[in-house]
Symmetry: D2
């Protein structure tokens, strides 16, 4: 197997005195960092530190914009017009781009966060807002999207570079969307299962949905590991090791998408 | 007289449903717009609209970062470390730069807002944070500063392009700082006095302080008019006209600093 | 006609430096003030001033809680759990109650704001959260609700005092809900039409929906006039006068519900 | 020794997804909980849970209002007018009082947080704002204050119930104020030293300042233990045990002040 694969993780989600995640510990095992931009979490100094940390670890950085909802951590849907959402995303990309500039590193990608990611899976208005924001600010940014999502289809059609993303620690619905966190079995916290799942996704480009049906992905370019759980560092390390053993090349998605 | 002078105004200070200022009406009479960046006021959509409006009017745009204090409109001092302040300014510059990019226009300058501007007049820590933010994100940005301020001295020493700013509708202390808004006589709201004052500042490069002493400015590159008062549009129009009549060339500061 | 009717208005919706509405001017013409509690708008000092102003005008005060969404002015739906919504409402009631206490006046009622009001019309979860909040903090508060809403039915069933509210300047759907502000014809801005409408609602207890169908209200206890439009003061004055002429007794709803 | 002493701790300082402190674990060892009110930290649901938890543990509850500064955790001074500060405190007391009401428990006390506490030590304007807020909302609330502070003197003069507070894990300046957290030696993290210090404060009513001078407290009614450090639970348990052994009665301050 000579496949290339990226490992991405949501990072920089601390805020002021509030610490979330294990950023420094997980960096060595990933290749793309999705950095919160201050709306669902993250603050200017956290962003500065996270960009610096990513650079030191040779990890590519991307914007991780979310709904403006700190108490809900961007996991609550907010009903916004396409235009105000587009502007909110432009704002967040720009803010992160400034820290990337200060750190002398380019933004590689963008991955919407939480409820915004989920809204853009199904709703054209939300997907379109994300896509227009990218086109207006930096059309070179790679868009991370579920293979079965509206956002993926529309991004591809719009000529954007789109990376197909798969989740190794989240259960899937048969239509390729993620099982909501509020449902039982939505999160796979056992490392061994998640690693097996990761290997299967990469090799077979498909996964078993929560009801047993098969979800096919076509290509998969990047695997998401989460950074906020207790065993996320161990999980990321194990996945990286297993992928390496199987002959996969683990590298930032910007090199091959 | 063949002098060049810029007219700047704080704009984009509406927020969500809350309207402040007369942006569309004042744009024809100014040459530089200081655009709020979402911390003391302004929101992403207001920023997008204001950048567009400036471009349509041939007005240069600059960042107008402030303390993160919407209820206090950035007029309340907040005690921040140099690093967190620097990061907060980088964030705000970046956010505005994204809208400038989307609008295909360059950022020309930066002017700190309210309590931050006042803090950077006297306090090296605050001035240094502003200067470092500029150096890290975009060293071409012109820094607007009071001629007698720490920020001006330090900015010049650091090799930044610095524009000396004078206020036509604010009273001065004998040390060249502005009289606090909370004091009587701090704001000059009468148009005729303000226009006379503007002409005097431009021709004689000095102004009479609130106690009658003379404050000399050396060079003056840009005059600030405020956009939030009832008669600000009339004032800006009158100043521009009077400057034109006297043979001054009113143009964006980027052309001559 | 010997009917009693209350006139209510949303007030205290300014925030920091941002002014909204004509609170002082409209107070003489209303009998119940719905005061914003700092989440969709309003800030502590605005709340203090508005309670004081209401008391001076003999106007009863009520809490006007909304989604925590200042940039969207509480008009954007936010997907919250019943518990977190209940707690957010308890918080807002408590904050206003403190100003009522400081002003030596009792809270009379509660009226959810904007998107929260609309959500509680149809969605049991949202309605239940409002009702539970009232029961836990102050079961004497009168709940303002559309006669055809879930919130009204559930509030009545729960043993709360419920005031049926009608809108004189908003168009109705045939099911008794309000036509969304985003649709044409949603807001009736002409004073004469609005006054006629008010009189009809009070006398006939029904209104013509946007499609011509009749919506019957049963009882109507309070009429909402808005305070943020240019002619809202004139409208409130005209409605109050017309009601008085027709023999209605215009008084705070707490006297008769 | 037959002395009565209260043990207080700042609690409810989590916010949305962000966890701070070990509230459930420390509750059994304290007698008064200072609960954050949503400005420097805490959110409505956290407040609800913390009040409930306190009640279950027989711990008295008090308001812990702070500057409106989530990213700075209320530890950054904000320059506010006396009136806007008073209103901000009334708002916070009211919000917490609503949860106390819902939980059928009375508020016992108020203790300003962080930079607000420190400002009220020396600055009459800030102390006066706190005192007026208490007088307007609930004059029965016991004010926690440093024995040597302006706030203590003014609170006593105003006829409030004032509890003298001492800190067992913070170093003192010779004038009885706390050594700033930014200075070396400001925080005493070693349990044994802190327990010794606690016993000395209670028995001798004095403490050795950072420069070796003696600070006398007169009366001491309540000892503050912090809940956000790793060993805070152990520390609180040890202090409570040591006090008990020495014959002190550890109980909520409302019983004896």
């Amino acid at each position: 197997m000579n496949q290339k694969i990226d490992l991405n993780c949501d990072l920089g989600e601390s805020f002021g005195p509030f610490k979330i995640g294990h950023d420094a510990k997980i960096m060595p095992f990933i290749t793309s960092a999705n950095i919160a931009c201050g709306f669902h979490s993250g603050d200017p100094s956290v962003m500065a530190r996270t960009v610096k940390l990513a650079k030191e670890n040779g990890v590519a950085v991307g914007a991780h914009p979310g709904f403006s909802d700190l108490p809900g951590f961007g996991r609550r849907f907010i009903n916004m017009s396409q235009n105000e959402l587009k502007d909110a995303i432009i704002y967040q990309i720009g803010a992160l781009e400034a820290f990337a500039k200060a750190g002398k590193i380019d933004l590689q990608h963008i991955k919407p966060h939480g409820a915004l990611y989920n809204a853009a899976v199904k709703d054209e208005t939300y997907a379109e807002a994300v896509i227009e924001a990218i086109q207006e600010v930096n059309p070179e940014l790679i868009l991370f999207a579920l293979p079965h999502s509206e956002m993926k289809k529309m991004g591809t059609r719009a000529g954007l570079r789109v990376a197909h993303e798969a989740f190794i620690d989240r259960a899937y619905n048969p239509d390729g969307s993620l099982v909501s966190r509020s449902k039982k079995g939505a999160v796979i916290s056992d490392t061994i299962s998640a690693v097996e799942r990761a290997m299967k996704i990469v090799k077979e480009k498909r996964v078993k949905a929560i009801d047993g049906q098969i979800v096919s992905f076509g290509e998969v370019h990047t695997l998401c590991v989460h950074g906020d759980t207790v065993n996320s560092v161990e999980l990321a390390a194990s996945v990286k090791k297993a992928l390496g053993k199987s002959g996969c090349k683990v590298m930032s998605v910007g090199f091959f998408v």
